[in-house]
Amino acid sequence: MNRQEILKLNALIHAPIRLAILSVLISVEHANFTFLKENIGATDGNLSTHLTKLEDAGYIHIKKKFVGKKPQTLCSITESGRNAFMDYLVQMEQIVQLKNGNS
């Protein structure tokens, strides 16, 4: 991978909120909307927008159900999302090495 390719990070994951979402989902079977909102610090609308983008890209799966009368939204990472996130981490590592090499 050359310098230009390394520096061309996955724009979908590069956004802080989407990166935070995938960082949570990578280590769990699923997480609910409330947990994501409380820990990422996003508003309902903002979080929903980012979740939709990740779902449209096939990186996460969103399941909506009712627990009693309360709606619940559960998010889980897909295989594709997991691979994309791991690739992103590898790219970050290579950027660190590149920067250490330049310094």
Binding site: A20, S23, S27, E29, H30, N32, M92, I95
Partner: protein
Amino acid sequence: MTQNQLQNEIAIIKSMIAKTKQEMAQSGSILIFIGIFGILYIAVITTLEILGIQKVILPTMIGMTVLIAIGMIMVIHHQEKQEKVKSYIKSIYLVFIVACTIPLLIMTFLFPFTGIYAPNLVPVFAALLFGTILFSGGAVYEFAYLHWSGVFAWAGGCIIPYVHGYGRGIIMILILLNGFVIPGMILTIKYKNR
């Protein structure tokens, strides 16, 4: 990407992983349930044996097992409804507990019809299986007390063959108290205070 951006992204990832791990701390309600109803089960069956009411022992065992199984499903379902995150390790551990319990049920309820049933082996087998569940639970819950509870249960399983009468029931009750009820209560208190 600047050095600053890189550090920010790494900080985001670390922070999210730490918060998720904190949320995944487990409540001990399932352990408490297994412990209390296990003790009740032993107490009832031992009482029936002491009273010599042999005819009702097997139906009572079957009935109580079914009720405990239904209760466990309800406890797990209730806990899952309240959880904000579900961890892989917990799902695997629940399957592991079921996998450990089924051989015990087969030995207790099917073997009497095969001619190779050895009733004296059931509490030994149960103690050894409990030890396995508890010892591995120490890794799942990251709670060293459970490792030692597992060892205690295995030791109990080795002692039971040399104990007669309702002394076996007492050993099993101690295993359940030490292995399930006490650590379950400690984990539940920690979970509520997280």
